[in-house]
Amino acid sequence: MAALDSIPHSAREQLSQIEIADLVVALPSCSHADTLATAIATLRPALGELLSGGRVVVLYPDRAIASPSADPPLEDPSFQLVPYPLLPIEPYDDKSLDQGLRSLLRVGQVLSARAFVLIGSELGPTTLSEVPALAEPIVNNAYDLVLPYYARRQFAGLMNSGIIYPLSRALYGARVRNPMAINMAISPRLADLYLQSAVGSPTVTGWMTTRAVNAGLQMCQVYRPEAIAPGTGESTDLSATLAHVLGAYFLEIERNANYWQKVRGSQPVRTFGHPVALPSENASVDLHTLVGNYQRGCKDLSDIWAVVLSPAPMVELRKIARLPFESFRISDELWAHILYDFILGHRQRLISRDHLLRALTPIYLGWVASYALQSQNLSLDAIESRLEQTCLALESLKPYLVSRWRWPDRFNP
């Protein structure tokens, strides 16, 4: 059993009384007694059935639900509630995610748990149903990391669909749909690896996926009926979000360079459950605005892009800016080339990293416009095939990234 020293004093006594548990669940976003009561009512029967009477410990934020009278009375030793100094996890915020993960994993180690589940997103009926779904593959099939596979929607999670998922797949070779999910189930083996890493590591988001892949651990996904993680707040400043998310992800790429340079192609990851077909949507997206943003970017930022991009994609981008709206397209090959050039530029610090990532915003909006124009009136299956082409383009162009990563000064037309 791990030492109790790493646990805050307020929770030590209760945890030493509990001694052992099969599953530890952390709910850092639980902010009201009512939400906690709903969580208990949902999780107790579901996890009882999954663990066949095994012991479950649920951690909830002690500051959010301060009054002891608000805690629902629980006499059941197989389902224990522990107030713990947890902070809500902000989407793509490394610090709060690191704090939540470390709290969960330390408690899990102290209690010698078989599985750890973190629900970082906002709590709701669908999120709560995610807990047993995520825990099951670890409890029954000895997986090390279980991530949610959110249902595809035409205009939801575009940064993941267009950048994170294709890059993660091309670089690490595992087709994990939501590699940066903040809801996950973790095995003790992966927990040990995480706790061995330095506290306050700058890149926590997506760390679990890359670490599990690098360490050769077993990974799987679970189909979810939601299009995106509930409560994943949409910031009004897109360029700041892009810089934040990609900054963390590009640093992770730099850190794992020795691993991903050896990976070729990609392999599917086992996915439990059944894919959920969401009703098709009639989105009223103003594509003219997106194309306008791209054209303005091309007019004003081309000097900055030229520092980062190779000459060939630069010429292509200028050509695209002159195309009429109906034929506005950014090809998959060009998009792959752009992403790889920005990764290389970020690594070489060609300009300030924040400026570099923010300068990608107009090109990203151009890609969104191009994707939207191409996927108009398509079924979700056809959109899926369309995005598969993007992923394949990144995989086939990967030797270019590897080559320039190793020999950055080699001439690249």
Binding site: F155, L158, E234, V285, N293, R296, L301, L350, A359
Partner: protein, 233 residues
């Protein structure tokens, strides 16, 4: 009378020729010193160029986060900047040695004054260099920010920011080395005040429609509507 004039002419010619004879070796020494220093500077810069290219000086500086130096370096190469500085330092040294051969006292005074002045001069050059780097950094940030929030005339705004910082740093540098004195301060005050006043007038009067359109574009309902259906995260 004629003898006296003749004598005076002979004496003055002798004095001039003697003076010239005294000066000539010094002038020749100055020319030789400048030529030698020129040759030495050329050789040094050639060797330095090979050395810096060999160690990939530009690439290493960029990877250490000094990419901003690219903008102020000749041919976008900080190595060329270093080579240029060293080249001109050697030429200057050769010239000082040459002047010492003509008149040691003058050179001594010159060197003494230069040495006293040098810290301020270095500080002023550093002020201009740092100001230049900051100006370019801010200008790039403003341009990217303006484009990303669809603000019209982003380039103009970025150019304005760049020149404001450059003018500010140059005025600070001139003030530091005591050139211009009050005139620089006054000129800067007038220039800076003029720019701010012009901007205030432009916003208040001429460009109020433009500014209001920009603000509407940035935070108005139209913009929210256009992106309402897209979820990036």
């Amino acid at each position: 009378m004629f003898d006296q004039i003749n004598q005076a002419l002979i004496e003055s010619t002798t004095r001039v020729l003697t003076g010239l004879a005294h000066l000539l070796p010094g002038v020749v020494a100055l020319i030789v010193a400048v030529l030698v220093s020129f040759g030495f500077a050329t050789l040094s810069s050639w060797l330095l160029r090979r050395l810096l290219r060999g160690v990939d000086f530009d690439g290493k500086l960029a990877s250490w986060g000094w990419a901003g130096l690219l903008d102020i370096s000749p041919s976008q190469s900080p190595a060329m900047l270093v080579i240029g500085v060293i080249y001109w330092c050697i030429i200057l040294l050769g010239a000082l040695i040459g002047f010492a051969a003509i008149n040691a006292n003058v050179t001594e005074q010159l060197v003494t004054r230069l040495l006293v002045y040098l810290p301020d001069l270095v500080a002023a050059v550093l002020l201009i260099l740092i100001g230049n780097v900051i100006a370019r950094f801010l200008a790039r940030g403003v341009l990217i920010g303006a484009v990303n929030v669809s603000l019209p005339h982003g380039r103009l705004l970025s150019l304005g920011v760049k020149w404001l910082v450059i003018v500010l740093s140059t005025a600070m540098a001139l003030e530091h080395i005591g050139i211009g004195g009050g005139i620089v301060r006054l000129a800067f005050g007038i220039l800076f005040g003029g720019i701010v006043f012009t901007l205030a007038l432009a916003i208040g009067l001429g460009s109020k429609d433009l500014v209001s359109r920009s603000l509407e574009n940035q935070s108005g309902p139209g913009r929210e509507e256009s992106r309402a259906e897209i979820h990036h995260l």
